[in-house]
Every structure is written in structure tokens, then in C-alpha cells.
Amino acid sequence: MATDLRISNISKIYPGCIANDNVSLQFKSGKIYALLGENGAGKSTLVKILSGVISPDNGEVFLNEKNLKLSSPLDAKKNKIGMVFQHFNLFETLSVFENLSIDATEDNKSLRLRINEILKKYNFSIDLDVPVLNLSAGQKQKVEIIRCLLRSPKVLIMDEPTSVLTEQETEELFISLKKFCDEGILIIYITHKLKEVLSLCDEVAVMRKGKVVSVSQTQNERVETLANKMVGQKLAKIKKKINISKNKDEIFKVKHLNFYSDDPFETNLVNLNFSVKKGECLGIAGISGNGQNELFQILSGEIITPDTSIIFRNKEIAKLNPKQRREYLMAFSPEDRISQAAVPELKIYENVALNNFKSSNFFEKGLVNEKKIKEHSKKILSDFSVNTDNVELKSQFLSGGNLQKLILGRELITAPELLICYNPTWGLDVGAINYIHETLIKINDQEKSTILISTDTEELLKLSDRIAVIYKGKLSKIMPSVEVTPEKLGVLMGGGSID
């Protein structure tokens, strides 16, 4: 039976921001629809409304011309609207089967039978009796999909599904989605990745600042046209001159890095050895959860591991804490901007002061030198084009992109010799990503080095001079980035071998 989903004049207003402004769209089964937009464009609000998590201030949703009242997630479920959230809605400590059985109406035996049928039909391989926290991101997503399929949905909404997947897992996902589509399920695919829209979807609706700005057939679109619609302006292309000179000094050298943890949420690292040359960017690829967190914390000095040797500018720094490492001109930009890099409740200048050096004189005789810190902060805000000049603003009111600019600015204003960053553009929109990438390239141009730990393959290929892949705590051999393709990276990130 054909499905027809229509949303009409949906509006949702939050204090200080119009998340959805009179959004009307129509979807029909048999096609895959893309909902494209930057962060904050209102895509997530719209899908939360469709899945009943939040209710709109205005507007209606029609499924096959029936007006739906979606006031709770249960309503969406009853009306056969399935939803796979970007941040998985799974219970980590429960087993896969328990996760699936929690809202089932049938008994466990027949449920297990039905799950096995689905597993077989779509070629998924998942152990039903292990706790979800042991699964990879791709498997977790499959669990979410199975949960939707169990309710034989008419509509399946996927919210940024590939942000945690490898190339191979993405391909598998696309194959499954096309299968679902052929079976008559209406698929709405939310993303900010342009290439995915072109390769997967039939129709694309672009959202910007809460409004739908365009609806079109994907066959009439190209990456550039979609990008311009999404951002609302022309974007400059950035290209890095790859640095392949072999005889430069090694500025940073890691030997025998081992890390062992009892914590099932942490990954062990096994004998990592690598070095970074002057003016070089070393990229470390991998799917999140393969040891990047631990590696970053060891490189920054948050975790000290025994028997590891880290030589930086000809000094052994393996036993130094983050502050001491900073004094030697290292700088760090962690993945989690809100909880690791900055304190959201503190004002901008206070966050800047957190990164104090002997030379910066932020504190005198135990007292805060507010004037000096504020001057210094102002300089960061203007040098790194953060869109405010108010250093008294609480950091939590900055958008992700501006907060990241502030953090990078704070780290870079001391002219460090080595910057280690972990997913610096995670969750940012295209404009901010461009700015951060330009900044990182500039660092290399000034003969300073960077280590870029990232889960974004495209970013790594764009910025790195050499690339290695981390998988289950082991590092692949380091390859010059000119020899690396996205496919090769994908194989290595999934644990395969390319030789």
C-alpha cells in the first residue's frame, strides 16, 4: 500500500530561535527523501516533531490524509512512523534482545523468531545476547533499525545515520535502505553530507534557518549547487599543498605506547609508535571508540602510561602533565568542546585564563589579573573571528563553531610547535568547518606541526600529509596521504588489511 506523508505549516519556536518556520513538505513511498541542512537549520526539530518527541507550536502532520496527533513517541509508533536517532536511543547496559523486547507486545519466543527472520532477510549479523555497549556503532545502528522494522513501519526516518559509520558500513546501510524503499517503506534521510544525498536519495529538501529553501530532484543537483543552497552563499574551496619533504627534523616521537584498562568502556592501546616532522600534519583515522580518546589523553598528559617514551623537541616529556607539556609549546584541542576543552558556565575570558602559562602573567601573587586576561581574550576573539567581542559572555551561549574557534584561538595564540586536535570540526556547519580547516593548514604553512585525530575521512584526506588508521587500539602503518583513498581508509578502519 502506498504511503503519503504530508506536513503542513509546522512551526516551532524556542526562546531566542525559530527552529521551524512554517515548514510544509510532502513525501510519497517508493522514494528516498533527503532532508539537507547545516547544524541548527531545524532538521532535528522537524524529525523530533514527526517522531512525537516534541510537539509543534503550529501545523499538522497527515499520513495518508489522516491528521495525526503526535503528542508522544507512542503516537508515532502507533502510526507506524519509525525513527533512528543520531544519538542512539539504546540502553547500553541491557542486552540486544532486552533492548528490542522492551516495547514488544508479543512473548519472548515469538519475538526472537521474528528478530532472527529480520536478521536473515537483511543479512545482519548481531549476537542478541551481548550487552549493547559491546557493539560497534554500525551494529548499534542495526539494532535501532531492527527495532523499527519489528513494528513494520510505513515511514522510516534516519537522522544523520552515517556520522559514526565506516565507508563499508555506510554502503551496507545504503543497500538496506534501498531494499526497505523497494518494499514500500517511505524513507526520510536527514543529513548534512552532500555526497550521500546524491548517491542515495531521489528527492532533496534543503533547510536553512528553520525554513525549507528548496525542494528538487537529486538528479538535477550537484555537490556545489546543494552546498550553496545549504549555506546560502558561495563557499571557497580549500586545498592543501601536501608536504612530502623527507629530510625534515622529527619534532615529536612516540615509542612503545601501551595502555591497559579494566574499564569495558575504554579501549586498550597496543604498542603504538609514530613520529611527526616539522611542519607536518599527521592524520589518525578510525571509527570512534577504537582508542582515539585514550590516545588523545595520553598524548596530552591526562593519562600517564609507564614505559612509554614521548620525545618532544628533543626532551622526554612522557611523565609530564598537560600543563607542563603546554609550557613546552604543545597545544591540545579535545573532542568534547563543552566538557573537556571549555567550562560552559564560565565566561569567555575565564575560559581563556584556564590555559595559563608562566609567561602569560594571568595571575599575580595568587590574584587574578582580570585586565590582562580580558585584553588577551579580546585579541583571540578578533584574531579567530569569533562572532562576539563580549568577553563577559558565558561560553555556553557560543555556538559550536564559535566555541571551537575560541578554543583553537586560545591554544594557538601562544604559537605552539605542535597542536594535537581530536575531531576539531565535529558537529560544526560547513562555514565553520571551512574556517577551522584553513586555520589548521595555516599552522602547517608556518612550519608548525599538527596531529589530527579524526573520524571524518574527508577531513583527514584534505589536511594530512601522512595518515595512519587506528583500529581496536592498534595503529596501521603510516602512509603518505597521496597514496591513500577513502576506500583504503574504509577497509583499514573496519579492521581489514590492504596488502
Binding site: K48, S51, V53, I54, S55, S72, P73, L74, K77, F85, F88, N89, L90, F91, E92, T93, L94, E98, S101, I102, D103, P131, L133, D262, D263, P264, F265
Partner: protein, 310 residues
């Protein structure tokens, strides 16, 4: 030494009796915590249960009403906690502490007229078997119905959490309230129910003290047992069976060290008094070493306030 076999039987029987309030309160609190709510008001709810049970017994002269009433009073006082933390979104820790202070004060006030009144004998089951079978008699028989219930409770709790749909829902809410809410589970309702159940069990634990264990009302008669119950839940890493083991060890060493003091061992009394606390912690830490299992049993959202998106 008079350590003959029947004496050991009587000793074990008395150890079991002394651990009942801990088992009841800790089992109740365990369910509350498994749903992600940290209620530090256990001591307060117990003492309220103790005075309401005793007062109702004196007023109505009916033990059944007294027991049910004590549980109801636990429910009512935990409802205050539930309303504050779940509906008004107050901090769990602060609210729980306030509940304990409130409970101790209120019980002292209500209990003024009941000090010195003798309690009523609580019926014990199988009293003839207790006398006739050596060793096993005093262990298995001659207890109140509440004791049998208390010893079944950890197993029932375990079964509830592991095997039933509702138990699964409770664990899911404790793991991730946001996901649970997005799955259409009414998180606030589940947490309310768990809080009220915890209150009922704490009320019963209090009534056991004032009606059965030492049948009389003494101000502050729970004497920190609520805090021990809270600690048991954490050190038992949210496993009902380990709560039972911990409660027995605590009860056991409390009784044994009293005997040791009476016999006159040349060990400082202060050390002996501290022994139950020390040994319980050591034993529970040793049996709960598997960090993987701890992760799987720990309610991830414990103590965190849950806001529902609107």
C-alpha cells in the same frame, strides 16, 4: 566453652533476625536506585515507618493494621521525595538528606507519647518445630512472617529485575531515561512507582524494628541502619543477592562482636564496634571486583535529574 551445636543454631537465628531491616530497606532502595533515583532518605523513611507502626499498634491493637500502616507511611513520606525530585526537579541528594532529617524530627515529635509503652508480642510461626529440631530448628523456624518475607525478597527482586517485563523497564529507565522516554515509556511514572515501593519497604523495615525486633518505641531507634542499607546497595553493586550476603555479614558480625565483648576478648571495644562496618565493606568489595559486571549493573543515570523535552 559453651559453643555447642544448638547454641550456634540460636546464634544464626538471631543473626538472621538482626539483618531483616537491612535486607528490607536495601532491597527497596535497590529498586529505587535501579530506576536512576538516588534517595538518601532511607533512614528517615525507616524511622517514620517505625513510629507509625508502633503508634497504630497501640491505638488499634491490631498488628496487621500496624504493619500495613507503616508501609503506607513510608509510601506517603517517599511521595514527598518523589514530588520534589520528579515533578519539581530538585536535586536528589539534597532532597534525600532533607527527608532523613525531617523523618527523624517528625518521628521524635509523634513518638513523645509512646515512649515507655510496652509492645505487643508479634506472632511467630512454627514455634513448636523451633524447639524440637536441634540446630536447624532455631534457624529455619520460629520467626515472624516478616522475616520469611525479607529473606525471599532479594530473590524476588532479582527475578523481577532479570525476568519480568516491568523489571526490564525499570532497568531501561535507570540506564537511559532519555532513550526510554523516546521509546514511549513514561519515565516519571516508573520512577514515582520505584520511589514509592522503596518507601514502602523502608517503612516495613522500620516497623520490624519497633514491632518485632525490639517491640517498643525509642527515639532514633533505627540508629543509622538506613545509612548502612544505602551503603549495602552501592557496595553490593546493585545486585539483590549480594545485598542479602552483605546484610547477613553485617548482622552476623554485629552479633558476634557483642558476644566477644561479653566474653571479654582482649580487643578494644571500639575496634569490635567498628568491625561490622569494616568487614561488610571488605567482603562486598572482594565479591564485587569484576568491573565489567559493575558497569552492567550500575544504573547509568543514577541521581541525575531527567527533563522531558517539550
Amino acid at each position: 566453652m559453651s559453643l555447642d551445636i544448638s547454641f550456634i543454631g540460636i546464634l544464626i537465628g538471631s543473626i538472621m533476625a538482626s539483618s531483616v531491616p537491612l535486607i528490607l530497606a536495601a532491597s527497596g532502595e535497590l529498586i529505587t536506585e535501579r530506576s536512576g533515583v538516588l534517595n538518601l532518605g532511607v533512614e528517615g523513611m525507616m524511622i517514620i515507618g517505625a513510629i507509625s507502626g508502633f503508634a497504630l499498634m497501640v491505638i488499634t491493637d491490631n498488628l496487621f493494621i500496624a504493619i500495613v500502616g507503616s508501609m503506607l507511611s513510608g509510601v506517603i513520606i517517599s511521595l514527598i521525595f518523589g514530588f520534589l525530585t520528579q515533578s519539581l526537579l530538585t536535586n536528589h541528594v539534597a532532597t534525600g538528606l532533607a527527608l532523613t532529617i525531617f523523618g527523624i524530627g517528625l518521628s521524635a515529635m509523634l513518638g513523645k507519647n509512646f515512649v515507655g509503652i510496652p509492645g505487643k508480642e508479634f506472632p511467630i510461626l512454627f514455634s513448636s518445630l523451633k524447639e524440637s529440631i536441634p540446630f536447624f530448628g532455631p534457624i529455619l523456624f520460629g520467626h515472624s512472617i516478616v522475616l520469611y518475607f525479607a529473606f525471599a525478597l532479594p530473590f524476588l527482586t532479582n527475578y523481577f529485575l532479570k525476568k519480568t517485563k516491568l523489571g526490564l523497564v525499570v532497568r531501561a529507565v535507570g540506564d537511559s531515561p532519555v532513550s526510554a522516554s523516546n521509546q514511549g515509556i513514561n519515565v516519571i511514572l516508573v520512577r514515582y512507582c520505584c520511589i514509592l515501593y522503596g518507601g514502602a519497604m523502608c517503612g516495613l523495615a522500620g516497623a520490624y524494628l519497633s514491632l518485632i525486633y525490639t517491640p517498643q518505641w525509642i527515639e532514633n531507634m533505627t540508629a543509622g541502619r538506613g545509612w548502612i542499607a544505602l551503603a549495602l546497595v552501592v557496595f553490593a553493586t546493585w545486585s539483590p543477592i549480594k545485598v542479602l550476603i552483605g546484610a547477613l555479614i553485617f548482622g552476623g558480625i554485629t552479633i558476634l562482636q557483642l558476644h566477644m565483648q561479653a566474653i571479654g576478648f582482649r580487643i578494644p571495644v571500639q575496634f569490635l564496634s567498628a568491625l561490622p562496618y569494616l568487614m561488610t565493606i571488605i567482603v562486598l568489595v572482594v565479591i564485587s571486583r569484576d568491573s565489567r559486571k559493575i558497569k552492567l549493573n550500575t544504573p547509568t543515570s543514577l541521581g541525575r535529574i531527567f527533563y522531558k523535552e517539550k
